[in-house]
C-alpha cells in the first residue's frame, strides 16, 4: 500500500516537474476578419496552425478574430499580453499604433505587426511583396482582356492597396500602354455581398477581367456566373471560378511564423523588418489556368524574373498620375516610398480617396 502511494506521489511529482520544464511558448494572434473569411485572416490562421503543427508541445496559440481597427484593437492586444502570451502577431495595417502602445507597456513581450512600418525594440514588422504578384496579373489581364479594361475592387485606401493597383497597372501597361482600369472602393475589408455588387457594377460597365483586393471569393463567383475572367485574392479560389480564375495571389505566412516562433524559443528574436516576396515564398501565384499557352509562358517568365531579382515592378521611367516624374529611366523605387505609397501612377483614371 505504502509503495503504491509512493509511486503515485513520485509520478505526480514527475509530471509536475516535467510540465515545468517544457512550459510552452504562448503565442497570440489578432485578426481583422473572421478565420472563416477564406481570404486574409484565413491565411494568417493557416500560419497559426502551421506553427502548432511544426512546434507541437513547445507552443500554445490563441487568437482573437474580427477585431476592428481602433480602440478595440488596443484592448484586445493588451488582453493577449496580459494572458501571458510572449509573442503576439497583429495582422492588419490599422493595428500599427495600438500595437506600439501596448508594446511599450509590455517590454518583455515580442510583437509582430503585419504590413506596417513602425518598429520598436520589441516590435518587428513583416509583410509580403504582394505587388510582385499584382504586376504579373496585370500583364495577364492586358493579354487576356478584349475590351482593354479591367475592373479592380479595392478595399480601403491604405498604401498596401494603392501599391497593388499601381503594380497591376504597370504590369498591364508593359503589355498595352493604353490599358484602362476601373476602380471601385468598397471601403470595407469584408462584405461579400458588397464585393459581389461591385463586381456586377464593373461587369455591367464593360470590363471583362476582375482583380480584387478584398477578401472573399464573391467577386470570383460573379465572374464565373457572367462568363468573364478574374483573379483570386489571398487564397486559391479556383473552386469558386473553375472557368473564371486565371490565377490567384496566395499569401503564405507559415514559414515566417514558424521561424519567428523558433527564434523566440531559442532566444534569438530581435526587432527587424521582413518584406518577402516570390523569393521567400511569402507570396506565390496559384496555377495559371484558363489562358493560352503563350500568356502562361509570359507570366511564368515574369514571375521567374521577379523572383531572381532581374525585374523590379517599380522600375522607371514611371510618372505620377498628374504627369510629374516619379522615377527616372532605370531608377528603382526604394522600399520606404513603396511602403508609404499614397499616389497613383499615370494612366489610372480613378481619383485616390484621401
Amino acid at each position: 500500500m505504502k509503495t503504491k502511494l509512493f509511486a503515485a506521489a513520485a509520478l505526480a511529482l514527475g509530471l509536475a516537474t516535467g510540465a515545468a520544464q517544457a512550459e510552452p511558448l504562448k503565442i497570440g494572434f489578432i485578426y481583422i476578419g473572421p478565420t472563416g473569411d477564406f481570404g486574409w485572416s484565413y491565411q494568417h490562421d493557416q500560419g497559426r496552425k502551421a506553427i502548432e503543427k511544426a512546434l507541437g508541445d513547445q507552443v500554445e496559440t490563441t487568437y482573437l478574430e474580427s477585431v476592428p481597427e481602433g480602440p478595440d484593437a488596443e484592448r484586445s492586444i493588451e488582453r493577449l499580453a496580459r494572458a501571458g502570451n510572449k509573442l503576439i502577431f497583429t495582422t492588419s495595417f490599422g493595428y500599427m499604433d495600438p500595437t506600439l502602445k501596448v508594446a511599450k507597456k509590455f517590454p518583455d513581450v515580442k510583437f509582430e505587426h503585419a504590413t506596417g512600418y513602425k518598429r520598436a525594440d520589441n516590435v518587428s514588422t513583416y509583410s509580403s511583396r504582394f505587388y510582385e504578384g499584382r504586376y504579373v496579373i496585370g500583364q495577364i489581364a492586358a493579354k487576356m482582356s478584349k475590351t482593354g479594361t479591367a475592373g479592380y475592387i479595392a478595399s480601403v485606401p491604405i498604401p498596401e492597396v494603392v501599391r497593388g493597383i499601381n503594380a497591376f497597372m504597370l504590369g498591364a501597361q508593359s503589355i498595352n500602354p493604353d490599358f484602362k482600369v476601373k476602380v471601385i472602393w468598397v471601403n470595407s475589408w469584408f462584405d461579400p455581398g458588397k464585393e459581389a455588387d461591385a463586381a456586377k457594377a464593373l461587369i455591367d460597365q464593360g470590363v471583362d477581367i476582375i482583380a480584387q483586393h478584398t477578401d472573399s471569393p464573391a467577386a470570383t463567383q460573379v465572374a464565373e456566373e457572367r462568363g468573364i475572367h478574374s483573379f483570386g485574392q489571398a487564397s486559391d479560389m479556383i473552386k469558386f471560378g473553375p472557368k473564371a480564375q486565371l490565377t490567384a495571389i496566395v499569401d503564405n505566412w507559415s514559414d515566417y511564423y514558424i521561424s519567428r516562433a523558433k527564434a523566440v524559443i531559442d532566444g534569438t528574436w530581435k526587432s527587424e523588418d521582413t518584406w518577402g516576396g516570390f523569393d521567400k515564398e511569402m507570396v506565390h501565384l496559384a496555377p495559371f489556368t484558363n489562358m493560352p499557352d503563350d500568356v502562361k509562358a509570359m507570366a511564368e517568365e515574369t514571375e521567374a524574373k521577379i523572383k531572381s531579382g532581374e525585374l523590379h515592378p517599380f522600375t522607371g521611367p514611371i510618372m505620377k498620375q498628374d504627369g510629374s516624374e516619379w522615377l527616372k529611366d532605370g531608377e528603382v523605387a526604394d522600399d520606404g516610398t513603396l511602403l508609404g505609397m499614397n499616389f497613383y501612377i499615370k494612366g489610372i483614371d480613378d481619383k485616390l480617396p484621401q
Binding site: 484565413y42 485606401p157 457594377a201 455591367d204
Partner: protein, 306 residues
C-alpha cells in the same frame, strides 16, 4: 439587356435580404417586442441554409433549414424575454453575439466550398413582357416571397382581426390582456415569424446573393433592417421604399465610382445610409401620425397578473 435593367436587377438582389428581415421585424415590433437579434438570426439562417443545400443538394431544402434555424434562435429569444421576462435589448444583443459565434463554429467545414445557387423561376407569359418581365419576373423564389410577404403582412396587420389584436397588444399589453387576448402567446408567434423571416434573409445571402458561406457574411445587414423598420415608422410599404431606396443608392454609388466620378468614395459609401434616413424621416415627418404608428408598448416587459 440595357444598362438600366442590369442595374435594376442588382438593386433587387441588394434590397431583398433587407426587405425580408425588416418585414419580419416589423411584425415583431408591432406586437410590442424589440428584438435586436436580427443579425444573429440572419447569420444562422445563412449558415444553416448553406448547410441544408449542401447536405441534400437542393437549395429549397436549404431554405427550409434556414427558416428553422431562424425560428430556433427566435424561440430562445422568446423564451428569455416572454417567459423569463428578461430585458429585451440585452437579450437581443446577446442573440446577435450568439448567432455570430455559433454560425462561425457550425460553418467551419463549409469555408472554401462553393454553394448551390437558387435557380431563377420564370413565370410563363409574364416573364416575357419586355422590361418588366426579365427584371421583376426572372427572379428566384425568395424575391417573389419577399413581395408576397409585404402584401400578406399589410393585409394581416391592417385588415385581419388577428392583426388588429396584435397591434392592440403592441400599443397596450395591459389593456389587451384585460380584454382576454393571450399576450404572451401572440408575442411568441410574432417573434417566431420574425425569426423565420430573418432566416429567409440569411438563406438569400448564402444561396442567392453570394452562394457561399463565409463567417459574418451578413456584414451588418441585420442592423440595417432594424433601422429600416424604425425609420419606416412601422408601415410595411414604407419599409419597402426604405429597403429599395437603400439598395438603389448602394448600387448606384458603386456605378458612380466605376465611372470615375471623382467624388470621394468614403462619401459615396455612406450615401445609402444618409439617403435612406433622410427620405424616411421626411415621409414620416407628420408627428401626430408617427405617434399613432409607434407601438406604445415597444420593448416594455409584460408580466401577466394572476
Amino acid at each position: 439587356m440595357t444598362m438600366f435593367e442590369a442595374i435594376l436587377l442588382t438593386v433587387i438582389t441588394a434590397s431583398t435580404p433587407l426587405l425580408l428581415a425588416a418585414i419580419g421585424e416589423l411584425v415583431v415590433e408591432r406586437s410590442g417586442v424589440l428584438n435586436l437579434g436580427v443579425e444573429g438570426m440572419m447569420v444562422m439562417g445563412a449558415v444553416m441554409g448553406f448547410a441544408g443545400a449542401q447536405w441534400t443538394g437542393n437549395p429549397y431544402a436549404g431554405i427550409v433549414c434556414a427558416v428553422l434555424a431562424g425560428m430556433f434562435m427566435a424561440l430562445i429569444f422568446a423564451f428569455v424575454t416572454q417567459t423569463l421576462v428578461a430585458n429585451q435589448v440585452a437579450s437581443g444583443l446577446a442573440l446577435t453575439l450568439l448567432g455570430l459565434g455559433l454560425s462561425g463554429m457550425l460553418g467551419e467545414a463549409f469555408v472554401g466550398q462553393p454553394g448551390i445557387k437558387l435557380p431563377a423561376l420564370d413565370i410563363p407569359g409574364i416573364s416575357d413582357i419586355p422590361f418588366i418581365g426579365p427584371v421583376f419576373f426572372g427572379q428566384d423564389l425568395l424575391v417573389y416571397l419577399s413581395f408576397a410577404l409585404v402584401v400578406a403582412v399589410t393585409w394581416f396587420l391592417f385588415v385581419s382581426r388577428t392583426g388588429l389584436k396584435l397591434r392592440a397588444i403592441g400599443d397596450n399589453h395591459v389593456s389587451a390582456h384585460a380584454l382576454g387576448i393571450p399576450v404572451v402567446r401572440y408575442r411568441y408567434l410574432a417573434i417566431l415569424f420574425g425569426g423565420a423571416c430573418s432566416g429567409l434573409a440569411g438563406a438569400y445571402l448564402s444561396l442567392a446573393y453570394t452562394p457561399q458561406w463565409v463567417e459574418n457574411m451578413t456584414a451588418g445587414r441585420g442592423w440595417i433592417a432594424l433601422a429600416l423598420v424604425v425609420f419606416g415608422s412601422w408601415r410595411p410599404w414604407r419599409v419597402v421604399v426604405g429597403a429599395y431606396l437603400f439598395g438603389a443608392v448602394w448600387i448606384s454609388q458603386l456605378h458612380l465610382q466605376a465611372l470615375g466620378s471623382g467624388i470621394p468614395s468614403q462619401f459615396l459609401s455612406s450615401l445609402p445610409y444618409i439617403a435612406t434616413i433622410v427620405v424616411l424621416v421626411l415621409i414620416s415627418s407628420n408627428r401626430r401620425l408617427s405617434l399613432i404608428n409607434t407601438p406604445a408598448a415597444l420593448g416594455k416587459p409584460f408580466v401577466p397578473e394572476r
